[in-house]
């Protein structure tokens, strides 16, 4: 019951903040531009439109959710609403889980319509289904990090910067690992020192570069990655929520 009421609070906040209205307005504009640009392509107009729509929608949704979580937590702390919630018979870990659940519902309500529109444009229905699932899982990881950062910093600006940096880094980690482990030419100087750290980061950070591939929407699936993505999301979210729980339990309100 406690879980459900706190999760409901998050949903009501999303509606009150006009998250859906503003996000879907931007997404509608993105879709219109994608169809327009795709239509002017020399070849593969439909494929170009769907890739533009999906790629841009992914970035808009991720940034929108990051800003929502960051500002929501800042307001929660500033208005001392968090203290009011924690004064009830709810443990801090329960509070965190219920918030995680609420934010998952918020993201699911964003991802489903996006997935339907992208699926309607995609040439591979199976690829579109995996892309939609992958976007949801990617968002869960990002939300978990934003929750962790937001509760640690208690301010929206550093939370937005830290989470955006985490996202950009996690989306690039496959490429950075490729450089660090490349045997094409002998690496020297600073690279020799940094390579082990990059390899360690490759183990630590969730491999978001495996998520949300626009190519799935055109060519379908070469191999089914759903189980790998699901496992990565479960491990990543558990790790980040665990870190947030440790931090929250140490905090003095």
């Amino acid at each position: 019951m406690k879980l459900r009421s706190t999760a409901r609070l998050v949903l009501i906040t999303a509606l009150r903040d006009r998250l859906y209205l503003s996000l879907f307005a931007v997404l509608a504009a993105v879709l219109a531009v994608a169809i327009f640009v795709g239509g002017s392509a020399i070849s593969e107009q439909q494929q170009t439109a769907v890739v533009y729509a999906a790629g841009a929608a992914r970035i808009v949704v991720i940034l929108g959710v990051i800003v929502f979580v960051a500002t929501h937590i800042e307001r929660l702390v500033e208005s001392r609403e968090i203290e009011a919630i924690l004064s009830h018979a709810i443990s801090r870990t329960e509070f965190l889980l219920s918030y995680g659940l609420g934010l998952s519902l918020v993201t699911a309500l964003i991802v489903i319509p996006v997935g339907v529109v992208v699926g309607a444009l995609a040439t591979s229905p199976a690829g579109a289904a995996l892309w939609t699932l992958s976007l949801f899982l990617e968002l869960l990881i990002v939300v978990a990090f934003a929750l962790f950062a937001g509760l640690s910093f208690e301010r929206s600006l550093p939370t937005v910067f830290a989470t955006t940096g985490f996202y950009a880094f996690s989306r690039s980690i496959g490429f950075l690992l490729g450089i660090a482990t490349s045997n094409v030419r002998k690496q020297g100087g600073i690279n020799e020192i940094l390579n082990p750290y990059v390899e360690f980061l490759g183990l630590l950070l969730p491999r978001l570069d495996l998520f949300g591939q626009s190519s799935w929407l055109i060519y379908g699936l070469e191999k089914n990655l759903a189980s790998v993505l699901l496992a990565q999301a479960v491990v990543g979210v558990a790790l980040l929520l665990g870190a947030a729980a440790i931090d929250l339990n140490r905090k003095q309100f």
């Binding site: 070849s43 790629g55 490429f175 490729g178 591939q213 626009s214």
Partner: protein, 228 residues
């Protein structure tokens, strides 16, 4: 300070205005991979759309002859690096940049197309037909057209239109290589599938019969010492 700013602008920054080359230099492989942020297919479409507009930005348009086609091909290679299955780049090469009147540039585009087809023959093999037409009609290089036709005829891609196999024998016959044309058309006939139109089969069989007849006449004429 106003005078200092004006002097600074006049002496230092006046010539640092934005340069718009028709075809900018391609980014390095590492830069491409970094900017892709784990979604190369998205960056592929962004770059492809930019390449399509090269030379036609900021209220200007550029003659195709003025494009640096070596740089264009380097960009097309970037697109292949990002999405080796897409037809976008090869369509640009054969249906857009091929409007250049420069023969050397056409050769570069054909060379790119030939390489790109090898990378993903299933999706792209049909573009060799365009390359053959350009080599044969625009560059007027029968050897190049023949080499491309042979590359096309050697393909084992299922679903390839029977016309793809007929180009090699037709070009050989036109160049006077009847023996080669006969063998090539027999090869084409071996590629007939259940959905091949009957008129195409009839055409190939007629071609083989006519060529065998001509070869027999040539052999007879050679024996008697009279030109056929």
């Amino acid at each position: 300070m106003l005078m200092v700013q004006l002097a600074f602008g006049w002496r230092v920054t006046r010539d640092l205005s934005e340069q718009w080359p028709v075809v900018p230099e391609r980014p390095t492989d590492n830069a491409v991979n970094l900017v892709a942020f784990g979604d190369p297919a998205f960056l592929h479409r962004v770059f492809a759309r930019q390449i399509q507009d090269f030379g036609d930005t900021g209220g200007r348009s550029t003659r195709m002859a003025d494009y640096d086609m070596k740089a264009v091909v380097r960009w097309l290679d970037v697109l292949d690096q990002l999405d080796s299955l897409s037809q976008y780049q090869i369509a640009m090469a054969m249906s857009y940049f091929s409007f250049t009147p420069q023969t050397d540039d056409l050769r570069r585009l054909i060379d790119y197309t030939s390489r790109a087809v090898l990378a993903a023959p299933k999706n792209r093999i049909q573009w060799l037909r365009e390359a053959i037409v350009i080599a044969d009609r625009r560059i007027r290089d029968p050897k190049l057209a023949m080499a491309l036709a042979d590359q096309l005829a050697a393909s084992d891609e299922p679903g390839l239109n029977i016309l793809a196999y007929q180009l090699s024998p037709l070009l050989r016959a036109r160049n006077g290589d009847l023996t080669g044309a006969l063998a090539a058309m027999q090869h084409a006939l071996s590629k007939v599938r259940s959905d091949t139109p009957q008129n195409e089969i009839d055409f190939m069989m007629q071609f083989i019969a006519d060529t065998e007849k001509k070869l027999a006449e040539e052999a007879a004429a050679a024996q008697s010492g009279v030109a056929p």
